[in-house]
Symmetry: C2
Subunit: 220 residues, 2 copies
DNA sequence: GTGGAACCTGACACGGGTGTCAGGTTTTCC
DNA sequence: GGAAAACCTGACACCCGTGTCAGGTTCCAC
């Protein structure tokens, strides 16, 4: 108990090295396992094995399996914001959105486990996401939605619902990491390569940008 | 053992009524539970409870929990084809794709549990999908990809990779059913209504169709 | 209405997963 | 270099989920 308080209260004192290193190891192992086999399909013994620590040692740092899961989520939420950095009024929508697509795809390619973990949590109805975490997601999205609205107001973009538009971007970019098994099947590949991700970016950019960023046309 | 053979061998004799009814109940209960809580998170006892049958009775029809899971998959795969029915060379791409989006969204709205179950299976790397089932998905997709290629050849559609294009359509339409929790959060709603699905269809159709179905433009 | 197949069920064996505990070892800081 | 805190660990208790079994009931065809 005392150690937990110490670690959490540490507004000035940094987290002890060993502690930080081991928690890091555990979390890294856990995110992959949870992504592959879900919460109930993953056993603490496996997490321990994958992080090179005895099971009891894992319990020294985390009181329950659930607390490991929660810690993984906490770490991921922090990354949510970064994806949106490109969406700013100063940029042209075409450039900004293209950059967003590339960045998002690249991120989910390189952090496939994290991506799948998160997707799975949402799929389950976001049961573990805390109220404040959901609020955070809402806030960040709303903020960027205003940017899109501004673009539309200025006539730089076709009038689409910004939230649905974001959802569309998110789903398309997530897909290749989350549903890699299916995507590979459909593309008749054994595994997805960097080239496949590039082709995906190309298709997406073409379809989405040419679809909503040419204000002069109103073909419907 | 004999009963299983009887039921499977029945090329002429139909499956006995009680058997058919009970298996149906079990499968219906199972798909929702598996979707909500994953394979390992779902207990046979719960499936039994949800289908109004004692647990032992469930085991009378299915030898293992895994066999229930496999049966659910088998039932779902059959539905894969139907979504693609709209994609035929005879139609104009614009109409066909719009119809596909509407049909797919409507289906995932009404069968959210099935949809989430399937998404989760893919997320896990499609570990339970049999070889022939994966082959089936590949075949059906390849067939419809040819339709798109034909449209492109005729100049009715912008030159995009048909498989990536399908993936984009699939991910966008799936999203609202699979990630309903997040979508509702982002849209600041408690639950997604029919109207939200309509708005989603509107946004998607607008972005995708105006993006790739106007052959005269080549703005890049 | 009777025999056999199909159907149903409570009780229970068994394995394995979570989390504990008591007692060790290492690190850290004076 | 010595004490206290942090760190580590094997053994084990306990629960609960899967799947079995033996014996009962209902259905159906003749």
């Amino acid at each position: 108990m005392t150690r937990t308080m110490r670690a959490k209260a540490g507004s000035d004192a940094p987290e002890p090295r060993i502690r930080a290193r081991n928690k890091e190891r555990i979390l890294n192992a856990a995110v992959t396992l949870f992504a592959d086999k879900s919460f109930h399909g993953t056993h603490v013994k496996e997490i321990a094995l994958a992080s090179g620590l005895p099971k009891t040692n894992v319990y020294y740092y985390f009181p329950t399996k659930e607390s490991i899961y929660a810690a993984v989520i906490e770490r991921l939420i922090a990354g949510w914001d970064r994806a949106f950095e490109h969406i700013v009024t100063e940029r042209e929508p075409r450039d900004a959105i293209a950059a967003y697509i590339r960045a998002k795809l690249e991120y989910s390619r390189r952090h496939a486990a994290e991506s799948r973990f998160f997707a799975n949590e949402i799929l389950r109805g976001a049961q573990f996401l805390e109220r404040r975490q959901r609020q955070h997601i809402r806030d960040v999205t709303a903020q960027r939605a205003h940017v899109v609205e501004e673009w539309i107001r200025r006539g730089q973009m076709a009038p689409v619902d910004p939230r649905h538009f974001f959802i569309m971007l998110w789903s398309a970019t997530q897909f290749y990491a989350d549903f890699g098994a299916l995507a590979a099947d459909v593309l008749e590949k054994r595994r997805l390569t960097r080239k496949d991700f590039d082709a995906a970016a190309e298709t997406m950019t073409r379809v989405i940008l040419d679809g909503c960023c040419t204000p002069s046309r109103r073909s419907r």
